[in-house]
């Protein structure tokens, strides 16, 4: 598997990786989680065009917890828009029509702080390492 193209932001910048839905589509759950956490642990902000499924979000929390290390990695900050409720009932899920597409922003907990979030807007403050 190829990795996200290497960018060297230097001391003054923060790298942002925007990962398309197409890029994530062919990956297994753990590959997606690894891609996200490797980026975040390098101090990058990872933006997913289509987000993760609930099961993958659950595993992301679990794997994040196993990697937290004092004075090194405090975990992640993650924000998504609330999921649309239209057409998401039990029958929709039963028929496999559940959509998980939601823009998702993930960053290191000590570098990203959510300032405001509502149904249409996520506003975050990103600081350098």
């Amino acid at each position: 598997m190829s990795t996200v193209p290497e960018v060297t932001p230097g001391d003054d910048g923060v790298q942002i990786d925007l990962i398309s839905g197409a890029r994530m589509e062919g990956l297994a759950s753990m590959e997606k989680i690894r891609l996200i956490l490797d980026g975040v642990r390098d101090g990058n902000i990872v933006i997913l065009e289509e987000g993760l499924s609930p099961d993958e979000e659950s595993k992301l929390i679990e794997v994040t917890m196993t990697e937290i290390s004092p004075d090194e990695f405090n975990g992640i900050e993650i924000e998504t828009y609330p999921q649309s409720k239209g057409g998401q009932g039990f029958l929709g899920r039963l028929m496999g029509k559940e959509t998980t597409k939601k823009l998702t922003v993930i960053g290191p907990a000590n570098q990203i702080q959510t300032l405001h979030k509502d149904e249409n807007l996520i506003s975050a403050l990103v600081s350098r390492k």
Partner: protein, 213 residues
């Protein structure tokens, strides 16, 4: 093929949940840190078994291991409902040992507590995916419920088709705002209570019997 397999699995899971009633259902108490999950678990356990489940504290991550109280028999309107209560560590996406230093803790103790807390959160997530059959989601009604952890966890619970009740806790506090929680999760029933003071526990037990019996 994939769709048919998914359909068959979904129907099978729902059928299992509907018809396998011989064992008590395991009901997980979930929510963010400091929502009052253990206070609620202790209140329920004391009311119906006489014993507590675990220690309570205002310091976040006091509960760092999932604890199960088996065979809690709740009697409502002449009908008995038996459940296992699983009190879980508060779920978060970040743990910084430095926040424990503000609670008069030495660095070694704070680091150990944060390590145990991370293990506890991972354990709670694992229980949620594998081992609980219903969820009581506890929120501190003085806090903004519209957080990412709450949204994600409710989404995870919904994706597994688990029955869920939302408990708006700490209604004894002045800043309590139950309606804000009801508005944040309108697709689920919100029950106000104070686990600490024991307020509105009759409705709490009615709803537990209705949802998980």
């Amino acid at each position: 093929m994939g769709l048919l397999t998914e359909l068959r699995d979904s129907i099978s899971r729902v059928a299992d949940r509907l018809f396998t009633d011989s064992e008590p259902r395991r009901i997980g108490i979930y929510g963010p840190p400091n929502a009052g999950k253990t206070t609620l678990a202790n209140r329920i356990a004391r009311d119906w078994t006489g014993d507590a489940i675990g220690p309570e504290s205002h310091i976040p991550h006091e509960t760092r291991r999932a604890r199960r109280k088996e065979n809690v028999e709740i009697e409502r309107n002449g009908k008995k409902v038996t459940i296992d209560i699983v009190d879980t560590p508060g779920v978060t996406t970040k743990v910084d040992y430095k926040e424990f230093l503000d609670h008069d803790m030495q660095k070694d103790d704070a680091v150990r507590r944060s390590r145990e807390a991370t293990e506890g959160v991972a354990e709670a997530m694992h229980w949620l995916r594998e081992d609980v059959e219903g969820v009581i989601y506890v929120l501190d009604s003085t806090e903004d419920p519209f957080t990412q952890v709450n949204t994600m966890l409710i989404g995870i619970i919904e994706s597994q088709d688990l029955p869920v009740l939302i408990f708006a806790n700490k209604t004894d506090l002045e800043d309590s705002n139950v309606q804000r929680i009801a508005n944040a999760f309108p697709q689920h029933e919100t029950v106000p209570l104070s686990a600490l003071e024991g307020n509105n526990m009759d409705e709490v037990y009615d709803k537990i019997a209705e949802y998980f019996g």
